[in-house]
């Protein structure tokens, strides 16, 4: 049962990573790419970490995994903000149809 959920979460995580990469490659401008990347990847990593945490041999190992996710989230969010703000300041125009 645990293995089943684990596999499900891991596969879902991989799917989000794929989505993030497709977004990075296909979206038309910096802001949309930023959006695709930060959100999709962080969710992807979160799902994967959840899958792995189910398998973890001890509570501390699972805790370390969650800590890693928290750090990535924090870094991802802050960096996304900094890059978006920097791009606006430097006059990078958002994409319009």
């Amino acid at each position: 049962m645990i293995d089943f959920f684990s596999i499900l979460l891991l596969l879902a995580g991989a799917l989000f990573f794929l989505a993030g990469t497709v977004g990075l490659l296909r979206f038309p401008d910096l802001y949309t790419r930023l959006h695709a990347l930060t959100k999709a990847d962080n969710v992807g990593l979160g799902l994967m970490i959840a899958g792995l945490a189910l398998q973890a041999e001890s509570l501390s190992a699972a805790g370390k995994l969650v800590l890693i996710w928290g750090l990535v989230l924090l870094a991802g969010a802050s960096v996304a903000y900094l890059i978006a703000r920097g791009a606006l300041l430097r006059g990078v125009l958002p994409w319009k149809r």
Binding site: L71, L74, S78, L82
Partner: protein, 321 residues
């Protein structure tokens, strides 16, 4: 089992291919910024290679240095390059001119390179398959080393003298950078709230992880170098967010922390030399805490050195004004 081997084989193959491709791209890239990003990616993959080679100690070091600090250092270097040289049109023209070398000067290095690669490849392939090296010797003496991680035992005990000299190398790297000149002032305090809050969360965690890596180094992969790199990253982050340092801290305490690692090493070496009759001969009972002491001092120095290298020039102090 077989499917796993195939998957791992494919993983390794792709890794090697990506590494070679990245290495080529880094060297051939005209755009320096692109080269830096590619180099950071190269560092990430290198860490994975160390994982696959079952060298977690180096993977950890590569993660800290290759993925984190190298990028930041190179970015800072690029920034200063741009400040020094705004790339006038004339320079671009000459560099374009230089790109048409004569045929022999193109071909000859290539031929030499191919010959060297072939020769080295042949030499490497004819190495004995399993070289035990000093592994049995290390295992035999582990009980006397005072630690449980063989890498730490080699670095701090069996070949501690090398590490002593390496600490001097690190200090020399900083002295050489300072020798280049360029007294720097700290950048003004940054008011970006997001960056500030990032620092507030991240810096304590960085310091905590640094302590953890230092402590765990006695039994498992980790140790002064990895811990110091993480500490250095904390310093870099603080510098980037416009951390204010008191002028008087820059003068004496900074220098003191910079020499702490090599200084403690030399003093312990000298004390052991006069009490035990040998350079860096630890008494077995005291080896454990002596190594911890040395590593703690080294961690502080490595962290301070890396942050100071990122800073670049000599911090402004009253005496140098």
């Amino acid at each position: 089992m077989e499917a796993i081997d195939i998957a791992l084989g494919l993983f390794d193959l792709l890794l090697v291919f990506l590494l070679l491709w990245l290495a080529w791209l880094v060297m051939s890239s005209e755009d320096l910024f692109k080269a830096i990003v590619l180099f950071v990616a190269f560092g990430l993959l290198m860490a994975l290679v160390w994982v696959r080679l079952e060298a977690p100690d180096i993977a950890l070091a590569e993660a800290a240095i290759g993925a984190g600090l190298t990028g930041a250092l190179l970015m800072a270097a690029l920034d200063r390059l741009n400040a020094v040289k705004p790339m006038p049109a004339a320079a671009v023209v000459t560099s374009a001119k230089r790109e048409q070398p004569s045929l022999p000067s193109k071909v000859l290095p290539l031929v030499a390179l191919v010959l060297i690669v072939l020769g080295l490849g042949y030499a490497l392939l004819s190495l004995p398959d399993v070289a035990d090296g000093l592994v049995p010797n290390v295992k035999e003496q582990m009980a006397q080393s005072g630690v449980k991680n063989p890498v730490t035992a080699v670095l701090l005990n069996f070949r501690g003298y090398d590490t002593l000299l390496e600490m001097v190398v690190l200090l020399l790297a900083l002295l050489s950078v300072w020798s280049l000149g360029g007294v720097r002032k700290l950048s003004p305090r940054n008011t970006n709230p997001v960056l500030a809050s990032l620092c507030r969360v991240l810096v304590p965690v960085l310091i905590l992880v640094s302590c953890y890596l230092l402590w765990v180094g006695a039994d498992a992969p980790g140790g002064a170098f990895q811990a110091g790199s993480v500490l250095g990253a904390a310093g870099v982050l603080l510098l980037l967010s416009g951390w204010h340092v008191e002028q008087k801290i820059l003068l004496w305490p900074l220098r003191f922390i910079l020499v702490l690692g090599s200084g403690v090493f030399i003093i312990i070496a000298a004390v052991l030399f006069f009490t035990q009759g040998g350079l860096l001969t630890y008494p077995v009972a005291q080896a454990g805490w002596l190594i911890l002491l040395l590593e703690s001092a080294a961690t502080l120095s490595i962290g301070a050195t890396l942050a100071a290298l990122f800073f670049g020039g000599i911090p402004k102090s009253r005496v140098d004004q």
